[in-house]
């Protein structure tokens, strides 16, 4: 491909200027600041646009700023025109006959993403092999002094960078960076031995592992706690029930025992009661009998305690009574005798004296304290009577004296008897008995009965003495009755509790044993509850905030996912890039080395016709003998040649085989004369295959160009076309000098 023409329209310092170029070596010469670089920059500016729109707008000028390029490519012609301010691009491809093969007209900004731009860049790629401005610049463009190589490494680095597809970065650095970033994330190494230190992802995973463990622990603890609490609740409920059962059992057995005690007590009380009742009846009977006997005893008229002398008294009384009777009958006989003596008044006297005597006796009995007086009085009265009688009886005295003597004796005797009788009466009285003769007789008659009664009485009394007194029995009876009532009341009260029936007393021990077993069970259960409560407290300590763990886990998982994705992307990127490098080496490196060799051969006249690139893009050249030597071993000229060869091969590589024009901006400026001569020879040879456009401010080079018939463009002239034409003298074509 040949750049035929550059048309500038108010581009930088240029007004409306066209520059024409030929195949072969073209020279653009001009002093510094003449616009060489501007002219050279016009090419990428048209192709790719400029980011700083104002950069090439002429100072102080409004309106358009544009440029156009014309290329020839075999028979076809290509024209690309760009308004740099609006980025409007017109691209036309024409056949030899001028027919349009393709045309594009659209806005193509240097950046951005429009379909027009995409289409345009696609066309550029079709036409130039790549549409990357940087690669374009890096391959076609050769800036000032850039033939100066920064040593072997510099060249290989540059090659690596350009073959990466980027201008300043080699893929090794990218690979290293990918790997570095990868190992920032994880220690596991899919390409070799794992790293030792934990990295971000590993740490996140460790933390997640820890969290999971914590979560499971906490979760388990929580579940166990729930189970434990359920168990505890069940145990507590069972405990509660059992306690209630136990209490009920204790109460029931107490009740049963009490019932049995009550029943025993009732039986005992009833027994006591019947005994008391029996005794009471006995006592009552005995008392009745006692009263009867006492009554009977009273009827005997005898005192209870008979005096010891009573039989004697009775004998004395009998004797006295008999004697008195005898004396009575004697006295009656005597009195009859006396009466027979016709002494009638004596009967009255006797009656009177008898009355007196009776009165005296009565009085003495009635008033014992006046007994003597009474008796004396009675005696006096009797004597008085008897004195009167004596008077009357004097006459009868003799007779009467005898009778009287007898009577007196009898009387005396009777008086003695009477005294004895009185004495006896006193004794009776002393014994509390009636001294009356009737009574005495009766007493005498009852004496045996009395004895029997007394025996019976003492029997009864001794029996009563043995038995409790009735009051006591009565109070005991009352007491027992009351107790019985109380017991029966209590039994009656508890009756509802009895239910199905009272537990037989003999089963009580068994029931008590059962109750004791229940109590033992309760104790065991209490112990278990206590242990469960202790476990619960321990589990509470193990609890953690699940929610917090889950949230942190969630966050970490997101982070893990993010890191994993990045790790995967990095690993994939690394692998893909490495594979790409390998593939590239396999597929293109030999061809690239061949290209270098080809160019090197042509620019060294076949002195070096083979080049080899090792894996690190270090170049080795083959000498004529075919031996390989590293580039560093060669002369400066050979190195320059190699450099050109590499650049051309790169251009070809990047342009996919298309021979694009080579633009050189004073690359030889720092060369000494000899090296410059070598380089120019080299360029001339190169120009046979590639169009070369060399920009320079060097006057000698201009002269050389004019001498050797290169296409020469002198920029002062170009800026001022008329002057340029005058200076060139001949073959002026749009302000351009062309020497063949």
């Amino acid at each position: 491909m040949i750049l035929r023409r550059i048309e500038l329209r108010h581009f930088g310092r240029f007004g409306e200027v066209d520059f024409t170029f030929r195949p072969g070596l073209n020279l653009v010469a001009g002093p510094n600041e003449a616009g060489k670089t501007t002219l050279m920059e016009a090419i990428p500016a048209v192709l790719f646009g400029v980011r700083q729109k104002e950069r090439y707008r002429p100072w102080g000028r409004q309106g358009s700023c544009g440029a156009a390029l014309e290329f020839s490519c075999g028979e076809r012609r290509l024209r690309i025109e760009r308004d740099l301010l609006s980025d409007r691009v017109q691209l036309g491809e024409f056949a030899a006959d001028g027919a349009a093969l393709y045309s594009f007209d659209g806005k193509v900004a240097p950046l951005g993403r429009s379909s027009e731009r995409a289409e345009y860049l696609q066309q550029l790629e079709r036409l130039f092999g790549n549409a990357d401005e940087d690669l374009f610049r890096a391959s076609l463009f050769c800036g000032q002094g850039s033939l100066e190589l920064a040593g072997e490494g510099g060249l290989s680095g540059r090659i690596k960078a350009l073959l990466s597809g980027f201008v300043e970065v080699d893929y090794d650095r990218v690979l290293a960076s990918l790997q570095d970033d990868y190992f920032q994330l994880t220690r596991s190494n899919p390409w070799g031995k794992d790293k030792t230190r934990e990295r971000e992802l590993d740490e996140v995973r460790l933390r997640i592992g820890e969290l999971e463990q914590q979560w499971y622990q906490a979760r388990t603890a929580q579940q166990r706690l729930e189970e434990l609490r359920a168990l505890l609740a069940a145990e507590s409920a069972a405990l509660h029930d059992e306690r209630a059962d136990h209490d009920k059992g204790v109460k029931y057995l107490d009740w049963v025992r009490r019932q049995w005690q009550l029943e025993e007590k009732e039986v005992a009380l009833k027994r006591d009661f019947s005994r008391v009742q029996r005794t009471s009846a006995q006592v009552e009977t005995l008392q009745k009998e006692l009263q009867e006997v006492q009554r009977e005893l009273a009827r005997t008229g005898l005192p209870r305690q008979l005096p010891d002398d009573l039989p004697f008294l009775f004998a004395d009384a009998e004797k006295i009574r008999k004697e008195m009777v005898a004396l009575q009958s004697e006295a009656a006989g005597l009195r009859k005798q006396l009466l027979g003596l016709a002494n009638p008044p004596w009967r009255l006297t006797l009656g009177l004296s008898g009355l007196c005597l009776a009165g005296g006796i009565f009085c003495s009995w009635r008033w014992p304290e006046y007994r003597g007086l009474a008796l004396a009085g009675a005696g006096v009265l009797a004597l008085a009577a008897w004195g009167g009688l004596a008077w009357r009886a004097l006459k009868l005295h003799a007779e009467r004296n005898r009778v009287r003597g007898q009577v007196q004796r009898v009387e005396q005797r009777r008086e003695e008897m009477q005294d004895a009788l009185e004495e006896l009466d006193d004794k009776f009285r002393q014994h509390g008995m009636s001294p009356s003769a009737v009574e005495i007789v009766r007493m005498q008659k009852n004496f045996e009965r009395h004895r029997q009664l007394c025996v019976r009485l003492s029997e009864i009394e001794s029996a009563l003495n043995v038995l409790d007194p009735p009051q006591e029995l009565n109070s005991e009876k009352v007491q027992l009755t009351r107790e019985l009532v109380v017991i029966s009341e209590r039994m009656e009260q508890d009756k509802p509790l009895r239910g199905a029936g009272l537990l037989p007393a003999e089963e009580l021990p068994e029931a008590e044993a059962k109750l004791a077993a229940l109590a033992e069970r309760i104790r065991a259960r209490e112990q278990r509850c206590f242990e469960l409560a202790r476990d619960e407290a321990a589990l509470l300590g193990e609890l953690r905030d699940l929610q917090q763990i889950e949230e942190e886990g969630e966050r970490l998982r997101e982070q893990e996912l993010r890191l994993q994705q990045r790790r995967d992307a990095l690993a994939l990127g690394y692998d893909l890039l490495r594979e790409a490098v390998q593939e590239f080496r396999q597929a293109y490196l030999a061809r690239f080395a061949g290209d270098i060799g080809h160019y090197l051969g042509s620019i060294t006249h076949g002195r070096h016709a083979a080049a080899r690139l090792d894996d690190d893009f270090a170049i080795a050249l083959a000498d004529r003998a075919g031996a390989w030597h590293p580039l560093a071993e060669y002369s400066r000229g050979t190195t320059d040649a190699a450099y050109f060869a590499v650049r051309l091969a790169l251009t070809r590589q990047l342009a996919q085989g298309r021979p694009l024009p080579l633009l050189l901006d004073d690359p030889l400026v720092n060369f000494d004369r000899a090296r410059l001569a070598d380089a120019l020879k080299l360029l001339e040879r190169l120009a046979a295959e590639h169009q070369v456009i060399l920009f320079t401010h060097s006057e000698p080079l201009l002269k050389r160009g004019l001498r050797d018939g290169w296409q020469v463009v002198v920029l002062e002239e170009a800026v001022r076309p008329a002057a340029a034409a005058a200076r060139a003298g001949e073959k002026s074509d749009d302000g351009q000098l062309c020497f063949l």
Binding site: R113, D132, L162, L178, Q547, Q565, A569, L570, L572
Partner: protein, 375 residues
Amino acid sequence: MLRLLHTADLHLDAPFPALGERAEPRRADFLKTFERLVNLAIKSEVRLFLVAGDLFDGPRPAPTVVSQVQAGFKRLVDRGIRPVLLPGTHDSIVLPDSVYRRETFPGAVVLAAPQLQEPVRLEIDGSAVHLYGFAYAGSQSEEALAGMRRRTEAGLHIGLLHGSRIGSPEWDYRKKDLPFDLARLQEWDLDYVALGHYHAFEEFEHNGRCFACYPGSPEGKRFGENGPRHAALVTVGPRQARIEKCAVNSRNLDERELDLSGCPSPADAAAAVLAQGQPELLLRLTLTGIVETPLPLEPLRESCRGAFFHLDLVDRTRLFDSALAQRIAHEETVRGVFVRRLQRLLQEAPPEQRATLEAAFREVMVRFVCYGGRS
């Protein structure tokens, strides 16, 4: 009729690890929102202040936060408003040193029992109000749901539940503690059920009767809880409730997409992001579109930092479809080979691996571009 304020999921003292240095001011936002809720309750002259769970983000909130909450409740109590607290899943009572076990909230009713035996009865303006609710305590709580059934006819019956509505949009991606549905709510037959746990506002109505409501989080905790956040002012009567939505949030969250297709350089992309800027906004910006150069996210985030309260950038831009990639594919360069290999892989790869491939491409290209300075 009883007027009450219903809120839930305040998540006070949440850690916000993703917010970095903004975490502290964000926590302060949440406390401000709490204060705003208290003021709203006082201003609206409600009689009950219901918090249906997750008042705190964890069971052990900072003492300063607890004391601020206690002070807020005291203000309510002093004005005759009873706070009613239900421990939720975050501030659950499971831990022995849970805030509800350690701290007291004088004047507040704390429904801290894990099983509901009998509703709490309150006397409000002479009429009985029965409060049904139980504290979340792990799996056993699901049995406790049965206890929410209305007990008596007299008085008002208000439930508090920190549970998950089956079929809610949040059901698919959030936890499913204490699941329930509308049928269950109807079965309970309470006059109103104050819900919490899911963070989006949702009202449960059937045949014109409002059964329950999720007021949502009053302050957006994470992206998705975007825009205005609400509390519910509820007027409850026998088997009827009327809900008034009140925006209470301190700051907005938002999620947006930004197509960077028209932005050729990172600077253009930064300008496009900055154009979205709002200093008070927490924004998750998903960058989409096809870019010509891989976006260096960290520098982009750094350059836009001041324009947002918080900016979360998600890079979904596609580099592989860029014209650059298409062009490179024809190059006889390493990168050309790389792109071709990647293209082949992409054709063969299942869809789930495409993202990794795209990311791998981005990782490689971003290095070439960054180290090279220009593309």
